[in-house]
């Protein structure tokens, strides 16, 4: 029995259907990300769970309790906002204590819990400060402590990192994940940043125009995208047009060579299909065991540290490939002619 269940959740604003038949089961202690482009309905789903929007239809069950009709302040759900939303008139300690005070927790217990929370977020000294005296990253950590202090059943985070600069963003996301795992709190995290979602989630829900396109672990989403949208939204892809030779055996023709795909094809012999390959599945030069070799010309080289990303022009199309950096082997310079090896076993089939 899962801890948080969304069943056939729908939301329309007027005639605008923003969330369509959204289903999700979240286990206790799981970290789920809702990933998708801006405007696809992520915030709306989160706000329905929090109780700030009433679903047009469908149900929300938390820990066996139907909460769909419950007011937001009766749901015991912690929430973190993009704009921090600390109470400007209260000190850090008072902010963190707010939920406990509302609950009627006694003063001594409250103070102990506030101290515990401030220690958890690594700001034990700042209880007496006001929000405007803190940096953005510190404010967001206080917001996390405030959300966690009353021991909510579920923690909801709506793009909590997008207002922060890059360095703080990475360190705070790691801290959020650590705290989440320590406390074992069921968490739903909204982001439009695929790298962010990949790096901290147990599972990701990729959303497109109000629909959950695919739900899976970061590994599954990245390596086995089930729709063209997911494949294109998550990571970079090279697509190639192929002709089906033997659908049952998964054999297709690309140029002059036959490639064997990882699975059988659901298409007629001689029909055209697209296959996709991640940049890291391509090999620079001739690689033993790779069925196909294409040649092209280097357009540009991005040295990214451990990885070098090359863009090559192959018959008018841009192909992106990643190679590992090697200290004894400088990357090719733009303009150089190169050969690229491909293998059918790495291909992602794009259907739908």
């Amino acid at each position: 029995m899962s801890f948080l269940t969304l069943t056939h959740l729908e939301k329309s604003f007027g005639t605008n259907r923003v969330v369509k038949d959204f289903n999700l089961s979240v286990e206790k202690g799981e970290f789920i990300s809702l990933l998708g482009p801006s405007g696809c309905g992520k915030t709306t789903v989160l706000r329905m769970i929090a109780g700030f929007e009433a679903p047009t239809s469908g149900s929300i069950i938390i820990d066996g309790q139907e909460v769909t009709g419950l007011r937001a302040n009766a749901r015991n759900i912690g929430m973190m906002f993009q704009a921090y939303a600390l109470f400007p008139n209260l000190t850090v300690a008072e902010n963190v204590a707010f939920g406990l005070k509302v609950k009627g927790v006694a003063k001594a217990e409250r103070e102990a819990r506030v101290a515990e929370m401030l220690a958890l977020i690594g700001l034990p000294e700042l209880g007496g400060r006001f929000p405007f005296q803190l940096s953005g990253g510190q404010q967001q950590r206080v917001a996390l402590a405030r959300a966690l202090a009353p021991k909510p059943r579920v923690l909801l985070l709506d793009e909590p990192l997008s207002a922060l600069d890059a360095k703080v963003r990475v360190s705070l996301r790691n801290q959020i994940r650590e705290i989440q795992q320590d406390l074992g709190i069921t968490t739903i995290f909204v982001t439009h940043d695929q790298e962010e979602a990949m790096s901290i989630s147990d599972r990701i829900v990729v959303m497109n125009a109000g629909i959950a396109d695919q739900v899976g672990t970061p590994f599954e989403i990245y390596n086995r995208p089930t729709t063209r949208f997911v494949a294109n939204f998550v990571g970079t892809l090279n697509t190639f047009e192929v002709t089906v030779e033997d659908p049952a055996a998964g054999k297709v023709r690309l140029g002059g060579s036959i490639m064997t795909l990882p699975a059988a094809l659901n298409a007629g012999t001689g029909s055209a299909q697209s296959i996709a390959l991640r940049p890291e599945a391509l090999r620079l030069g001739r690689e033993p065991g790779y069925e196909t070799v294409i040649s092209g010309r280097i357009e540009d080289v991005h040295f990214m540290g451990s990885i070098i990303r090359l863009r090559a022009n192959v018959a008018g199309e841009t192909v992106v490939l990643d190679t590992f950096n090697r200290a004894d082997q400088p990357p090719p310079v733009p303009g150089t002619g190169i050969e690229i090896s491909l293998s059918g076993k790495d291909a992602i089939l794009l259907q739908g």
């Binding site: 302040n73 109470f87 707010f98």
Partner: protein
């Protein structure tokens, strides 16, 4: 060149405001022939009616401020949060007291709440005071609403409300612990304007026949020479005292420093 003109205009402005004030103060000190004295002030402060009417109006302005705050803060908050499309309408309603003369309002009151009506408020002193407080609240509404609404603009009302709700807070907690403290400076400036209006108001108090400060000032002004300017100077001192107090409170409210 433009600098000199600018300074010239500034000085002219200063003179425009200061000269009458200086003249008035000077005149108020001339009660004793041939020398300056505080005789006029002594007479004013020595008059028990001054103290009676002054404290009466002070108490009523306190009541007016309380009623105004309880009426305006939740209304302005609710309009911002849930009915933003109704804002022009609400603003229009709050501006009505500026176009409807007080005399019309008070005659309306007398018609509605006279001793033979369903709610005979004018039948007792307390009832009339309540009526007068409501009238003052109406007069002060444009200023109170504007101040509070401007104060609400400086905070993210919707997000703060949702943050408080997710922490379990109900409407009263949200209004009392989050919204009101964050618009306190705005409420204070509204309160100060209310005080100024109530202390000087004549029409309503006179027609409802209550011993307020406005009718007293009018009475003195019509019958005496040196005391009215002395009263005016006292009123100015009071006004500036309030302003200073507001500044002080703003400075003491630590979290407000961020906005300054």
């Amino acid at each position: 060149m433009t600098r000199i003109i600018a300074w010239g205009v500034f000085l002219l402005g200063c003179l425009y405001f200061l000269l009458p004030l200086v003249g008035m103060t000077e005149f108020s000190l001339r009660m004793r022939r041939g020398e300056y004295s505080f005789d006029a002030y002594r007479v004013v402060f020595g008059d028990p009616r001054f103290w009676d009417t002054f404290s009466y109006s002070l108490i009523l302005s306190g009541a007016t401020i309380l009623v105004g705050v309880f009426l305006v803060v939740p209304t302005a908050y609710w309009v911002r949060l849930k009915l933003p499309q109704a804002r022009p309408f609400v603003e229009f309603v709050t501006l009505l007291p500026l176009v409807i003369p007080a005399i019309v309002i008070v005659f309306g009151y007398i018609r509605l709440y006279n001793t033979s009506s369903f709610l005979p408020l004018t039948g007792s002193a307390l009832g009339t005071d309540i009526l007068l407080t409501m009238g003052y609240t109406t007069l002060a509404l444009p200023y109170m609403y504007r101040s509070v609404d401007t104060g609400l603009r400086t905070i993210d009302v919707a997000t703060l409300t949702e943050a408080a709700q997710s922490l379990g807070a109900g409407w009263i907690t949200i209004l009392g612990r989050i919204i009101l403290p964050n618009v306190m400076i705005a409420v204070l400036s509204g309160a100060f304007l209310t005080l100024a209006i109530v202390m000087g108001e004549f029409t309503m108090a006179a027609l409802l026949n209550r011993p307020a400060f406005g009718p007293y000032m009018q009475l003195i002004g019509a019958n005496r020479a040196y005391e009215p300017p002395a009263l005016a100077v006292i009123a100015f001192a009071l006004t500036w005292g309030c302003m200073g107090l507001m500044q002080l409170v703003a400075r003491l409210a630590k979290h407000e420093r961020a906005k300054a």
